[in-house]
Amino acid sequence: MDQVLVQVPQQIVNGITLGCVYALLALGYSMVYGVLKMLNFAHGDVFMVGAFAGWGVFSLLTRGGSPVVNATFILAAMVLGATAATALLGAVIERLAYRPLRKGSRLAPLISALGVSIILQNMAMLMTSGRAKAIQTELLIPAGAGVHLGGASISVARLLIVGTSVGIMLALDSVVRRTRLGREMRATSQDLEAAEYVGIRTSRVIVSTFIIGSGLAGVAGVMIGLYYMQVDFTLGFSAGIKAFTAAVLGGIGNMRGAMAGGLLLGLTESLGVIVAAPVYKDAIVFTALVAALILRPAGLLGTQVRDRV
């Protein structure tokens, strides 16, 4: 029993860290769904591409096990590089795979998204010969450093992940609520045609949504690379499923819901491991999802906030 209790603080820390990454990814799902009513199943793979982009920058700026420039600079470059790469990728995917199908049936873009997901995964597999790439996080962030709090060790890497996520989420929340682009996004999500009639260039709004959502996936990719200390081509699939779950759990289309859903999912996954074997952590997550949806079919925040995105 005492073996169970000592795990609790650390598992909470694990859950919050992972939850923040899920939340960033869930935001991308929710934003696209809010604006287009479409599930972008390629989102997880965009995240994987972001993780690889981060690794690419990392290996460019390190030589033989030591950084060639300041560590903070490398971290910043990884985030910027990955965000730029995924934002561009998001725009390209929207233009090539989704926009031509926007007027068609609602299922067509869904299939197209699955196709994009498979293409991205296979391209990554071929380019890396299927091998995992190591990221020596300890070169950038000292491994031992961090806070020890009531039996849990909170490394600097974890603090960075949580800090960055929270910062980005707050910024995004105010973008959507306070800026012109945010207003246009909300209008488009309420009624695309009506928004067009009042002079909103909805195509531009949609592409912006993809760019922002994919950019967030890029940031999340870099963070997961630093956290797992390794990236590989299969990374996107399970993360994508989890983020989608988080988005549904929070009430898909609702941004604050996505954040709450991500955190809750991360915590459920980590705390579930205390009572059940770690192999069952995905089963626990999905059981919790089903239970939550039976109680609140629209998701946690699905009905409370009226204007979506």
Binding site: Q7, Y228, M229, F237, A277, P278, V279
Partner: protein
């Protein structure tokens, strides 16, 4: 619309160009084919491709000596990604190709287990270079052969080492639910228990990348040794690094699947220092007969992994058996004859450092289990445990 067509045709063209095309022989008789089954893509592709290169090397040498009595030998690449479901599909494909007379692989125990009934149905002999699960040769399939010792030799040897040399009294064992991982973990645990060592078990999934949940459990159990029964060295490397990140520093040990320099030692940064791994074959760098092979292999493909030597040897044994089975009538070669010839292999002297024979179940006779330790950036052999045949 145009854009999309261009994109799709580019993608299609790129994919088509990746399909491996065999070299067509110009001889009168059809070439003899050898199937190479293993994980040539995916997580385990490093060990798979190292093995494939060794198979090609053995086949090229044999072709330079005239193939099988004048019949050219070709390799059919059968990629299973280490996945049992795909192993079944590629086995069916090899079974349908009538010129395939033998198979090297599959490499993963779970893949062998899934594909064995198919190979048995068409009497297609297989020699696995690395599938160590004991059950594989106990199921009564006559086509099954392997040149690596089993986990019921490896597991107890590892446990013996943990008790006698590492001196651990409290061991945490992690496996990945695979036929190999779980089987090896069971063997290690049983022997440790019998020796009075406290053990705890934990499982991860092959697709897991985040090990904080299980490592937090490990931390609570305070083991003095962590044993990893995982087939994937890159997964093990990530796990070890994340353990260091959580402030865990038990002694580390793992099975033969982890003896891979690039992914384990380099991948884990400094965290794998001092880790022990068992191996199902000698470091062939110390075998004089292997020197020529190593020089040629490393000259062409870079650092060799443990299964390169084993794959080369298995291929040589198969070709030798084909030649014996062909006798003076290479055109009359049949799968049944090749199977009998492989089965009766006795004292084949190759590069592994011991004469290879198969017992009636298809298990190798005369092998040893070795323990290696990670020192600086390589594995150093520290112990040898001869295998008692069961």
């Amino acid at each position: 619309m145009r854009n999309r067509h261009v994109m799709w045709s580019l993608i299609l063209a790129a994919l088509i160009s990746l399909i491996p095309v065999g070299v067509s022989g110009q001889q009168r008789m059809a070439p003899v084919k050898i199937g190479a089954a293993g994980p040539f893509t995916g997580d385990l592709s490093k060990i798979g491709l190292d093995s494939l290169n060794a198979i090609y090397m053995a086949v090229d040498e044999a072709n330079a000596e005239g193939g099988v009595r004048g019949r050219k030998i070709e390799v059919v690449v059968a990629d299973d990604s280490g996945d049992p479901a795909k192993a079944v599909i590629v086995a069916e494909r090899l079974a349908m190709d009538r010129n395939v007379m033998g198979v090297i692989g599959p490499m993963n125990s779970s893949a062998v287990k899934a594909a064995l009934p198919i190979y048995q149905r068409v009497s297609l002999v297989l020699i696995s270079q690395s599938a160590t699960n004991p059950a594989l040769t106990e199921m009564g399939y006559r086509v099954m052969h392997r040149i690596c010792p089993r986990d019921d030799a490896q597991g107890p040897a590892a446990a013996k080492f943990i008790v006698e040399v590492a001196g651990a009294r409290n061991v945490y064992i992690i496996d990945d639910k695979s036929t190999y991982g779980q089987g090896l973990a069971d063997q290690v645990e049983a022997t440790l228990r019998a020796a009075g060592v406290t053990t705890a078990r934990g499982q991860i999934a092959p697709e897991d990348r985040d090990f904080s949940p299980i490592l937090t459990r490990v931390k609570a159990a305070k083991p003095d040794l962590l044993y990893l029964a995982l087939p994937s060295p890159s997964q093990a490397a990530a796990l070890i690094k994340q353990a260091t990140g959580l402030g865990l520093s038990p002694k580390l040990m793992g099975g033969d699947g982890l003896k891979e320099r690039d992914q384990l030692i380099a991948g884990a940064g400094g965290s794998a220092q001092g880790m022990w791994v068992t191996a199902i074959g000698r470091d062939i760098k110390e075998v004089p007969e292997a020197r020529e092979f190593i020089t040629r292999f490393e000259g062409k493909h870079g650092a060799m992994s443990i299964f390169s030597g084993q794959s080369y040897e298995a291929t040589k044994i198969l070709i030798e058996a084909m030649r014996k089975a062909a006798g003076d009538d290479p055109a009359g070669l049949s799968r049944q004859k090749v199977l009998e010839a492989v089965h009766s292999t006795r004292d084949y002297r190759g590069i592994l450092g011991f004469p290879v024979s198969f017992d009636s179940k298809g298990d190798v006779v005369g092998a040893s289990i070795y323990v290696f330790q990670v020192q600086k950036d390589d594995f150093v052999q520290v112990r040898e445990y001869p295998v008692e045949t069961k």
